[in-house]
Symmetry: C2
Subunit: 157 residues, 2 copies
């Protein structure tokens, strides 16, 4: 078991583009209950099954296991909640830290967020120019919520 | 991915006792949604994470992965839906077939069921004297339902 400490921000502008190659992700959920999410993810040539507990501040319990890509594809196509989340991830180094920028496609097209993993909740880090508003802990941006309420529908009503 | 074909029966009487040693199981669920159950199980010295799709007749999709017992214990104690299912499983050979008899404890004490795995849905097999009513496909006996509606409460109301 690992305990993740991550902070999440909206991305502004296009200055981050071209700083790193992208990798395509397909992921879906077997459980989107906040207390126990279960994610199936295909990341390039690898696949994972990941169990996460509820967030307490910026940290939460996480258990991740490598699984065959064929299993993951079958679960994504046949078992997971709809829609599947599709995105391209760019790992962008910046002054000793690595930002993971996720540019969503499909039902969440238009949304771009950046996450940084930290050693402690109060660790300081430099903000690149393309980092905007912090959304750590905002449930609208939880991946699980992007299935129930995709970004493309946020301006409705 | 394996596709399970199983039939499930109630157990009657005590003639099955003493025919095989028992092994203690602790299991819980990260998802009890019928379309995609996710089970954490500790069986003796081993542990597994198992994803199952919806039942179509007696068969359904199943994906199972071995995981560290320490991970499973942590998920059972901290993440899974309550109550955890506790049972003792006896694998009893009978005329070339193996019956898995589950004697439940805790909130499901009093319930004893037997399952047999078959090569096809119409395969014939001998019934031991202690096999009672068939309950294959009866949702009351799904393990996931034994959490939401434990056997000890079935006679209420």
């Amino acid at each position: 078991m690992a305990r993740e400490i991550e902070r999440k921000f909206l991305v502004i502008g296009d200055d981050w583009r071209g700083l790193a190659p992208g990798k395509d992700y397909r992921q879906g959920y077997l459980s989107t209950v906040a207390e126990r999410t279960v994610r199936v993810r295909v990341a390039g040539e690898r696949a994972f099954l990941t169990v996460k507990g509820i967030s307490v501040g910026a940290s939460r319990a996480e258990f991740e296991y490598g699984i065959p890509v064929a299993d993951a594809d079958e679960m994504l196509d046949g078992l997971c909640e709809r829609p599947i989340i599709e995105k391209t991830r760019y790992r962008i180094p910046h002054e000793g830290f690595v930002w993971e920028v996720d540019e969503f496609a499909g039902a969440n097209a238009g949304l771009i967020v950046a996450e940084i993993e930290l050693a402690s909740e109060d660790q300081q880090f430099p903000h690149p120019s393309w980092i905007g508003e912090e959304v750590t802990g905002d449930p609208r941006y939880f991946n699980a919520n992007l299935i129930a309420h995709p970004f493309s529908a946020w301006n409705d009503g």
